[in-house]
């Protein structure tokens, strides 16, 4: 089919941050999928809570609070650093971005360690009763996301240190910060359900 | 008109109208039947409209060859018709939704405290029926057959001992699932005397197809006679052959699972056989109650219901003959 040229796009930039980049929308899609998984898992938790008179089941005690609080505090710190790193990624300054990503990997490691203590302080097993099952479900789901994004940041960091950083890679750092924020914001409702639902509901 | 639809359905099918929602014999099925008529009429009306419009559109300006496309179109007339069409749909739906809600409310409101209380527990591929009214000595258990007095509401509590089944006797009422961990209830107020057949309606394993039950609706007197008879223990063996049959029943694996009150065989995990011969069918509605099917079922149940939990109990022909004679005597 014959065509008629009416314009030229070669003058457009070849990278873009946030809303204008494809990868950001792809990550948003996967974040919505995982958010649905968290919402449904939380829904299942509350549904099973509704099915049973006592919560947790009499012999089990609610999970110990300390490890959960440590994790949440570390998460808040990581989110602050994360937002700062996202701003720095836009300035495309190599040194600061490399430093920021290393900082995130460090805090991420601390969160993973405190998560291990959380796993030990659940006071219930997953195969004892439905309460134990759903509590471990929520913690397992979030731990899966935490580990995925921490390993992802580690791999990204290792790449940043061994290559000259192109603008596209800065957008990838920016998008990864977006995903870490999702892991942070999804932790708060899970933290509420796991630690405070047995005490308050 | 109801008569016509029923006859049309029955004429098309064979003689049996004993398992169809189109031949209601109880209040519940009757009310549901009224919704079916309304639905049939309203949906058929809309369908004829759609097909008429489609036929007209297809026939109106048919072309053999491809005409050049028109891009300037003004469909104000069509868009007004669309608005009318949407209005008709909303009207039709409002009618159907409100009618369905009214019937649903009346169905759910048939609380009747002096109803006949029955508990039906579904098991993998048969129904345990317990009449729980009155003092314990007035309570008894039977299997795969329910007797109901005509004109009185029966409140059936539905439970299951293994997987999900669904209690469904279409002539009497809609179906209700039997789910572990839940107690569902269904009310039936039979109006017409007769024998109706129900079937499990939720897939429950190998023999989901052969998990039927019979519901006998009879007059109050017949029902009382039947109930009092069910309360009596099994008849003592009348002849040496019956005695041999009873001995075989107790010696072999039968008494491990089945119960015959009065013959000190007390297995609780399988259907109660105290008044087996008084029922119309055996093996959950699979075979008619007669000597031939009893002998066939006992010799090899896996051939008739592959996967059923009843094993092939090895016994000689004489033992089997005596056992069948004894079971036939358990009227």
């Amino acid at each position: 089919m014959k065509t008629r040229v009416v314009g030229d796009v070669s003058s457009l930039p070849d990278h873009a941050f946030g809303l204008k980049s494809l990868l950001w929308w792809g990550l948003l899609g996967f974040m919505v999928i995982e958010a649905m998984a968290f919402i449904l898992a939380g829904g299942a938790y509350l549904y099973i809570r509704g099915q049973n008179p006592a919560w947790p089941f009499p012999p089990d005690a609610p999970p110990a609070l300390t490890a959960g609080i440590v994790t949440t505090v570390l998460f808040v710190i990581s989110e602050v650093v994360n937002r700062w790193l996202a701003k720095m990624a836009k300035t495309m300054n190599e040194q600061i971005v490399r430093l920021g990503v290393t900082l995130m990997i460090g805090i991420g490691f601390a969160i993973v360690v405190s998560r291990i203590f959380e796993l030990a302080s659940m006071n219930t097993r997953w195969d004892v009763n439905a309460y134990g099952s759903v509590t471990w479900l929520l913690l397992f789901l979030h731990t899966l996301h935490l580990l995925t994004d921490w390993v992802d940041t580690a791999v990204l960091g290792s790449w940043l240190y061994t290559h000259k950083i192109e603008p596209t890679q800065f957008t990838e750092v920016y998008d990864n910060c977006g995903y870490w924020s999702f892991v942070f914001w999804s932790w708060l409702p899970m933290w509420g359900l796991i630690y405070f639902a047995p005490r308050l509901m | 008109m109801k008569r016509a639809a029923l006859l049309m359905a029955l004429a098309l099918g064979a003689c049996s109208g004993m398992q169809t929602p189109l031949a209601p014999a109880a209040d519940q099925a009757e009310q549901i039947r009224s919704i079916w008529d309304v639905m049939l009429w309203v949906t058929s009306f809309f369908y004829l409209l759609v097909i008429g419009f489609l036929a007209w559109a297809v026939w109106r300006r048919r072309r053999k060859e491809t005409a050049p496309p028109r891009t300037q179109v003004h469909d104000q007339g069509l868009e007004r018709t669309l608005a009318i069409w949407a209005g008709m749909i909303v009207a039709g739906l409002t009618l159907l939704i409100s009618w369905s809600f009214l019937v649903d409310r009346s169905l759910a409101s048939t609380q009747d405290d002096q109803a006949l209380h029955i508990t039906v527990t579904g098991a993998q591929w048969w129904w345990r029926v317990e009449y729980t009214d009155g003092t314990p000595d007035k309570q008894f258990e039977t299997a795969n057959e329910i007797h109901l007095p005509v004109g009185e509401t029966a409140r059936i509590k539905l439970m299951t001992s293994d997987v999900i089944h669904s209690f469904w006797v279409p002539n009497l009422s809609g179906k209700m699932d039997m789910i572990p961990g839940r107690e569902n209830v269904i009310d039936i107020t039979p109006r017409k005397i007769g024998v109706y057949r129900g079937q499990c309606a939720e897939f429950c394993g190998f023999q989901h197809a052969h998990m039927a039950l019979t519901v006998v609706v009879e007059s109050r007197e017949d029902f009382n006679r039947w109930r009092n008879h069910q309360l009596t223990p099994a008849a003592p063996p009348a002849s040496p052959k019956h005695a041999l049959g009873k001995a075989v029943f107790k010696a072999k694996a039968c008494s491990l699972c089945h119960e015959i009150t009065g013959a000190d065989a007390g297995g609780r995990t399988a259907p109660n056989l105290t008044h087996l011969a008084s029922r119309r069918t055996i093996a959950a509605g699979t075979l008619p109650m007669n000597r031939g099917s009893l002998a066939g079922w006992i010799s090899d149940p896996q051939a008739i219901k592959p996967g059923a939990k009843m094993p092939n109990v090895p016994m000689s022909a004489a033992e089997s003959d005596a056992l069948v004679t004894y079971l036939e005597s358990l009227k």
């Binding site: 796009v9 | 049996s16 809309f46 749909i89 019937v103």
Partner: protein, 670 residues
């Protein structure tokens, strides 16, 4: 980009003033407008640039090329062929069921084997045929219809095919090795739970769900991003073809609905393998939790299957009625309404479980409300035919067949939406008839229409009209002969999923008629296969636009080159090819030396930036292998999940490892 000023080209009637596309003029556009008006229609097709473009977008030859390709057309074609093969297998399973049910107390198939066969039929049709094949057609057409060179995430698309293939093979190889599932396509607990479903049969089913859902979700994200961010300049939301609108709605529904079934099947697997108690009523779990989670996905799923059928019909009817669709806005609104409403009515699958009756009647109202948007759509199609000059080729035959069949299914759907009536009709053959009318009528009829319509574009050959008509009539008659009697069977009290039935119930004649219908359907589909192979070898050559249709995919040669468009088309109306019969406006400037795609804004489709599109890579295939290893290993030992993550992390890291664009080529535009 403001619309280029229209030069009244001689010899063509001046197009009537259409709603002027008001576009914000930014500084970058004003100078382009100046250059455009000065630009004479210079010869656009420099052979050198074309050669270079073909070289950049070429795949490696042979098997290595097959494994590493990221061309959305190649992946879509193999998706369609694979899904169609499993459609034939599931069809054979259906014929086997019909033969077993043709006579009462038939012992052709044992109950255990029959339960496996009907589970394989249902599971394959829903998870391995319907959703994948409809998404595959979208994968092929969406980039072409929106004027893009490739999908947003080409490697994710390759990954999704291999994961889908692994899931389909897991199920069918399991069936051949006699580990096939036998608890129905929705596997209610406790029958599918650890106590009543021994062995790994249900684990194979549950893990297959995880495979196909990962694939479907990846495709959904891919299509949604392509539609939102890569439309041709000027293709505002109100100028998108209805096909693209539907697949935007379907992708969002898929993203919101599929996690529910992944959660339901994963919790079932953990109940069976790890000993958790999600569905163990004795330890606080609940069987209704499984049903809620499953049907929260289940009902959107059947609309995810039906809406692409709407998309096909919405493209076929205007082309053959020779005029644009009647009521574009009502059509878009009703698609969105169906998508939104489908999440609010899943409980109508659970009316018989004894939930509170007042809640049920809310779901009755919601279920019946769906009849309004679909009623509007039906009206718009018929009105388009009514006010057009219809030409009856095979695609339009299928569209008319769709309307006749689907409306019956829709109306029986309204019937079973009423709580009391559903208590009589639920889980009977009436419901079997309903969902076959809605799924075969709603998706398979339009799918065959789409095959006939886009086959020339996919393969460059025309399907034979005579064979097409024969196939349609055989399918239409066979379908109604097979499935209409099932309405009566349901009304005569025959429950669903029974491997046999007693004689004397009045069911024999209808079952025999249904079996006869099944055989006719079998003939029709073999005729279709014969038609396809005959056309592939000796069919008439198809030019770019055999049906003189109006959307962008018909502006590319048949079959389209790997890069789809040399220059990105500019759109200024809903029917680009009918507006610009011979001089399609395009914008040049995308690189030819490296793979590049144009990213435009979401609502007004202003060009934003150019992004490099990934080159062919083996890592999606290896990542799919790693995912399959993890998931299949988990069936046999839960430690496989822990140790399997290591190779998976390695594969994914290698996939996302940013690679230098080919040395010396980055930067220059041409």
């Amino acid at each position: 980009m403001s619309r280029p000023p229209k030069k009244p080209t001689p010899g063509r009637k001046k197009p009537a003033a259409r709603k002027p596309a008001t576009a914000k003029a930014t500084s970058a556009e004003t100078d382009e407008a100046k250059t455009a008006s000065a630009a004479i229609a210079k010869p656009v097709l420099e052979p050198a640039a074309l050669e270079e473009l073909k070289e950049t977008w070429k795949d490696a030859p042979g098997l290595w090329g097959w494994l590493t390709t990221v061309d959305h057309k190649r992946i879509a074609r193999r998706y369609i062929v694979t899904a169609f093969i499993f459609f034939l297998l599931a069809g054979l399973a259906a014929v086997a069921m019909r033969l077993q049910l043709s006579r009462p107390e038939n012992d052709l198939i044992s109950p255990a084997r029959y339960n496996e066969i009907f589970t394989m039929h249902g599971t394959t049709m829903m998870f391995i045929f319907a959703v994948p094949i409809l998404e595959a057609v979208a994968i092929y057409l969406v980039p072409l219809m929106v004027g893009a060179r490739a999908l947003a995430f080409p490697r994710l698309n390759a990954f999704s095919y291999f994961v889908y293939l692994a899931g389909a093979l897991l199920l069918w190889v399991g069936f051949i090795l006699n580990i096939g599932p036998d608890v129905g396509w929705f596997a209610y607990t406790p029958l599918s739970g650890p106590e009543y479903s021994p062995g790994h049969r249900t684990d194979v089913w549950a893990q297959m769900i995880t495979f196909t859902e990962i694939a479907a979700l990846s495709v959904a994200v891919n299509i949604a991003c392509t539609i939102l961010r890569m439309r041709a300049p000027g293709m505002t939301l109100s100028r998108m073809p209805l096909f693209v609108w539907v697949h935007l709605v379907v992708s969002i529904m898929t993203i919101l609905a599929l996690p529910a079934v992944m959660l339901a099947s994963s919790l079932l697997m953990s109940d069976r393998l790890l000993g958790t108690h999600f569905y163990n009523a004795a330890e606080g779990g609940s069987h209704l939790l499984y049903q809620h989670l499953f049907w929260f996905f289940g009902h959107p799923e059947v609309y995810i299957i039906f809406l692409p059928g709407v998309a096909f019909v919405s493209m076929i009817v205007p082309t053959f009625a020779r005029r644009p669709i009647v009521g574009y806005i009502p059509m878009v609104l009703s698609q969105a309404a169906i998508g939104f409403l489908s999440f609010g009515l899943w409980v109508h699958h659970m009316f018989a479980t004894g939930l509170p009756r007042l809640g049920d009647s809310f779901y009755t109202a919601a279920s019946m409300a769906i009849a309004l948007p679909s009623g509007v759509q039906i009206f718009c199609w018929i009105a388009t035919i009514w006010s057009g000059r219809p030409v009856f080729r095979t695609p339009l035959l299928w569209a008319v067949g769709f309307v006749i069949t689907f409306v019956i299914g829709g109306l029986t759907g309204v019937m079973v939406a009423s709580v009391p009536l559903d208590l009589q009709l639920h889980d009977t053959y009436f419901v079997v008839a309903h969902f076959h009318y809605v799924l075969i009528g709603g998706a398979v009829f339009p799918l065959f229409g789409a095959f006939a319509y886009w086959f020339p574009k996919f393969t460059g050959r025309m399907l034979s009209e005579r064979l097409g008509a024969w196939q349609f009539w055989l399918f239409f008659i066979g379908f109604n002969v097979a499935f209409f009697p099932m309405h009566i069977l349901g009304l005569l009290g025959m429950p669903r999923r029974v491997y046999t039935y007693p004689s004397g119930m009045g069911w024999e004649p209808y079952n025999q008629i249904a079996t006869l219908g099944g055989v006719i359907l079998f003939l029709s589909i073999s005729l279709f296969i014969f038609n396809v192979f005959k056309s592939l070898s000796s069919g008439a050559k198809a030019d770019d636009n055999p049906w003189d249709a109006s959307t962008l995919e018909w502006s590319t040669p048949s079959p389209p080159p790997p890069y789809n468009f040399h220059h990105t088309p500019v759109v200024d109306s809903r029917e680009p090819l009918w507006e610009h019969r011979e001089d399609l406006p395009v914008m040049e400037g995308l690189a030819t030396k490296k793979r590049e795609v144009l990213v435009t804004s979401a609502s007004e489709a202003h060009p934003d930036n150019r992004q490099s599109s990934p080159d062919p890579s083996i890592w999606p295939f290896i990542s799919a292998l790693a995912v399959s290893g993890v998931l299949i290993g988990t069936i046999f030992s839960e430690w496989a999940f822990v140790w399997g993550l290591i190779p998976l992390t390695f594969a994914l890291s290698a996939w996302f490892w940013p690679k230098r664009p080919r040395a010396g080529k980055s930067g220059e535009p041409h």
